[in-house]
């Protein structure tokens, strides 16, 4: 028999409210390496799990500022120094004419940059040791699945299993993988 190691414990809940209550309990009992896998985005889950606010808005703000500065610099360079043209006798550096481009470039930089940042940042796991494949947990269908990773400082297999059972979860199961713990 090959050696196996336990990577964590899974437990199923049947509704968003139970999942919210469970997440809040897990957090208040001091667990940190846990995640909640749900079939849809449950309102209030970030608060219940104690997740901090995303840093992505700061990226959006920075990129918006960059878009403004870039658009202003580029338009002033092109329209005033590089290739000045006469539009209705207006001065070359006419700020009202630059506003629409500035606005659009601000939106473009901020929106596309935020989307790319969110995709890249989303690849990073929220838990040091990720749960098994989502489709194997039932969370893609109708289950609200709690995952506690064995990397948690409080981890003890029996205690963790009993704790998840005490939350009222069904089908509490330890996850074993072949080979050494890959945490």
């Amino acid at each position: 028999m090959k050696p196996t190691s336990i990577t964590g414990v899974l437990g199923d809940f049947h509704g968003p409210d139970e999942a919210l209550a469970a997440a809040a309990r897990v957090r208040s009992e001091g667990w940190t390496h846990f995640d909640m896998l749900t079939p849809f985005a449950v309102h209030g889950m970030e608060d219940a799990m104690g997740q901090r606010r995303s840093w992505i808005p700061w990226v959006t703000g920075g990129l918006a500022l960059f878009g403004i500065l870039f658009a202003q610099a580029f338009q002033n360079y092109v329209m005033v120094y590089d290739w000045p043209m006469n539009f209705g006798g207006k001065p070359h550096a006419s700020w009202p004419a630059f506003v629409p481009i500035t606005f659009e470039l601000m939106v473009l930089c901020a929106a596309i940059g935020s989307a790319i940042t969110a995709i890249v940042a989303g690849k990073k796991d929220t838990v040091p040791q990720p749960p098994p494949l989502l489709v194997k947990t039932g969370a893609t269908v109708d289950r609200f699945v709690l995952w506690i990773s064995s990397t948690d400082p409080k981890w003890q297999a029996d205690a963790a299993q009993r704790f998840v059972q005490s939350l009222g979860a069904d089908d509490v199961r330890l996850v074993e993988v072949e080979g050494a713990n890959h945490a």
Binding site: G15, D17, E18, H43, G61, K90, P96, A97, V99
Partner: protein, 404 residues
């Protein structure tokens, strides 16, 4: 299994009590506004008096009509998050009939405000003669009066169904509200544009702007949302609708105010840029007039008051969730709306030698305060007469569990 969704409703307050302070402040505002207008009329400064009256009456009319527009938008979009605070915009719309009648009284002062109200001027001017079939006092009274009646009818239909649902329940009222809301928004777009043309655009009957109707609508939307924000923030901080209205709902209302603030800048700049780019004398007259005779500082202050300051203040998330931070912004936006109406009306009256000089709008401000006070009295009266929360609306559960 899902036990808490079936949990008992939080205790519904029987009626919303209006703090005596609010009633007294509103009554004091009415007295101040009435006194200022009476003084202006009795001192013979008719143009000043009617300008102040027009600014105040149109300001308050915008608040009242937008109350119904808010309800219609939310009904049509299926905005269940807004169910618990629906009585606020519903009560605002109680102003439509009295406010519409008061606004129509501007017709009495039309000769002091509108060039086209003088038959001799019209007959001597080809352009005004050409516009006379639309721009005459009878059509003003008929079209604006009909608009007010149509709004009143839709108000009775939509708000009536909402309050009937409190007693009878059932999905029928929700369907009625949704259908009527769709029809109302179409009718509103046309009728409110016509009202904007008569009350404000025709102050300078030679000038035209394709952005004007949408600008006046945006003004009403931004200011009306500011008033909704103000009331909702006060309700949350007073805990008057505890369990029904919390910072999640406030966050959404704040986002609406934030969105309208950005939209206002978009529209106002569009109007300016189109005129600046085309550089046609008939169009540029509007901004040239507002850049001379001392009006320039008033014009330059407007984007700061109505866009830059509220926009920057409302960017952080907490600024839209905390009553203490939202209330000052709402008050600033409401003041900025007065500023913009003053900038629309003030410079437009008088021609040539008699061109209006910029001045501190003391009488105009007092008049507007008076109208807001009267509006507030009607609003609080309407709000205190109904169940504070639509207790049988199908969207109530979603509103109670709303997170933003």
């Amino acid at each position: 299994m899902s036990a808490s969704h079936a949990a008992a409703l939080p205790a519904v307050p029987d009626r919303l009590g209006v703090p005596a302070m609010v009633t007294m402040a509103a009554a004091a505002a009415v007295v101040i506004g009435g006194a200022a207008l009476a003084w202006a009329f009795s001192s013979g400064a008719h143009t000043l008096a009617w300008s102040a009256y027009l600014i105040g009456a149109f300001y308050a009319l915008g608040l009242g009509v937008f109350g119904l527009v808010w309800v219609a938008i939310v009904n049509l979009a299926g905005g269940t998050w807004a169910v618990t605070m629906r009585r606020v915009p519903e009560a605002m719309s109680a102003w439509i009939l009295p406010g519409g009648v008061l606004a129509l009284l501007v017709i009495l002062g039309a000769p002091s405000l509108y060039e086209w109200a003088h038959p001799d001027v019209v007959s001597a001017n080809e352009l005004l003669t050409h516009k006379a079939p639309f721009l005459n006092l009878r059509m003003f009274a008929i079209l604006v009066g009909a608009s007010v009646l149509v709004w009143t009818g839709f108000r009775a239909l939509i708000v009536g169904a909402s309050q009937r649902q409190d007693r009878e329940g059932g999905i029928g009222a929700t369907r009625t509200m949704r259908t009527a809301s769709g029809a109302f928004l179409v009718v509103f777009a046309i009728t409110f544009s016509i009202s904007a043309f008569y009350f404000l655009l025709s102050l300078d009957a030679h000038w035209f702007s394709t952005m004007f109707a949408v600008l006046v609508f945006t003004d009403a939307a931004q200011t009306g949302t500011a008033f909704v924000t103000l009331v909702a923030a006060l309700l949350v901080s007073a805990g008057a609708l505890r369990g029904f209205l919390n910072d999640n709902h406030l966050h959404n209302i704040g986002k609406m105010l934030f969105a309208w603030t950005g939209f206002w800048a978009y529209i106002y700049f569009c109007q300016f840029m189109l005129i600046w780019y085309a550089n046609i004398p008939e169009e540029t007259a509007y901004f040239l007039r507002r850049a001379s005779n001392g009006w320039l500082p008033f014009l330059l202050a407007l984007p700061a008051l109505k866009f830059a300051i509220p926009f920057l203040v409302m960017i952080p998330r907490d600024a839209k969730r905390t009553p203490g931070r939202l209330i000052p912004v709402a008050v600033l936006v409401m003041f900025a709306q007065f500023w913009e109406l003053y900038l629309m009306v003030g410079p437009a009256v008088g021609e040539g030698e008699g061109a209006a000089q910029a001045h501190l709008p003391v009488v105009e401000f007092a008049g507007t305060i008076g109208f807001i006070g009267l509006f507030t009295l009607v609003f609080t009266w309407a709000l205190s007469r109904c169940t504070p929360v639509p207790v049988k609306d199908p969207g109530l559960a979603a509103a109670l569990h709303y997170h933003s």
